[in-house]
């Protein structure tokens, strides 16, 4: 595996972690804040519907989580399963695309 690609993946892992640190904090604080006064699920869905800001927020969340999770799982598979080579890279890309698709689908369904 080339030093260049591995370094790029390492940077992507750190950058996505930095993005997620902010987004996860906002996500959790918002949940606690929103349900504090007894807000129902239907009311939450109504507020999200058609909201471009939340769409962008959760789209970014989904993409960062997909990148971070896939790169992390690739390393876990290398170290704990001894899985190496091209098949692992293909599997990691599939995991990334799957996570991104699931996240973006949910984002789309809630906010558009």
């Amino acid at each position: 595996m080339s030093a260049r690609l591995e370094t790029r993946l390492w940077v992507a892992q750190r950058a996505s972690a930095a993005v997620l640190a902010v987004l996860v904090a906002v996500h959790l604080v918002t949940i606690v804040y929103a349900v504090r006064g007894g807000l129902s699920a239907a009311e939450i869905l109504a507020r999200l519907d058609g909201h471009a800001g939340w769409f962008l927020f959760y789209a970014a969340f989904s993409l960062a989580a997909a990148a971070h999770g896939a790169i992390g799982l690739r390393v876990v598979a290398q170290e704990w399963l001894g899985w190496r080579g091209r098949s692992l890279d293909v599997a990691a890309v599939v995991v990334a695309l799957l996570l991104a698709a699931l996240g973006l689908r949910a984002t789309w369904a809630l906010t558009v």
Partner: protein, 238 residues
């Protein structure tokens, strides 16, 4: 002081087993003293390594009660809780026999990390002046006292999980060289230590820093290499 120690010593190769010995307890006794006593008085077939006995050569490292240590400077009083010692060869290295490991993979990785000085100006004959207070020289000072004992390598979880990983000592050596202003292979060395078998594989568990008998912090060296490789990648030099 007339007690005795019960000492379990690994005998045989990787498929060997522990054998029990009783060794008289002495004042100011080191673990290496114990091993030497066994070899001279009880069992001359015991294989182990040592040379200097004063913490300079890096050849006597073993696993003492589960922890990699330099045995010549490890006092029995510090490690033998309840008068028990368990001595095994270093982890993460092939066992040749008894307490002796094959260190070839360890030093082979120093080569792979380009852990050798490559002069930028080989034709120069006068002394290079390196000011002691410069940040580069200070970074070199922090890591240069490595004696190559492989205690860090044997203590590293990432080496255990990823046999290709260069390990703390080789990366620390590379870090001292990328800070050596007389060296001319900085870029090639950064390329050699970047990636999944190099500095980016480190999980910052800090076992190397915890157990290094010389008080070196390879974790800091590896973090430095991560910074420099990041900069090189950003500039398109990697």
């Amino acid at each position: 002081m007339e007690q005795s120690l019960s000492v379990s010593v690994w005998r045989g190769d990787a498929r060997g087993a522990f054998r029990e010995y009783r060794v008289p307890r002495r004042e100011n006794q080191t673990v290496l003293d114990v091993v030497t006593w066994i070899q001279r008085r009880l069992d001359s077939s015991l294989a182990y390594r040592f040379a200097c006995r004063v913490g300079m050569c890096g050849s006597c490292a073993m696993t003492v009660n589960g922890v990699a240590r330099w045995t010549c400077r490890t006092h029995v009083s510090r490690v033998a809780a309840g008068g028990r010692l368990e001595l095994a060869p270093l982890a993460n290295l092939p066992v040749i026999r008894d307490l002796v490991c094959d260190l070839e993979p360890f030093f082979e990785k120093w080569q792979r990390a380009r852990g050798r000085f490559e002069p930028a100006a080989p034709e120069r004959t006068e002394f290079a002046v390196v000011a002691p207070q410069t940040p580069e020289r200070r970074a070199v000072d922090a890591g240069i006292e490595c004696i190559g004992c492989a205690v860090c390598y044997a203590s590293c979880d990432v080496v255990a999980w990823n046999p290709e990983y260069l390990g703390p000592a080789a990366l620390n050596r590379a870090w001292t060289l990328v800070n050596d202003v007389r060296d001319g292979a900085h870029g090639a060395r950064l390329a050699a230590v970047a990636g999944g078998a190099g500095c980016h594989a480190c999980h910052t568990h800090m076992s190397c820093t915890e157990y290094c008998p010389k008080g070196i912090a390879p974790t800091a060296a590896i973090a430095g290499l991560k910074r420099l490789t990041l900069r090189a990648w950003w500039r398109g030099e990697l």
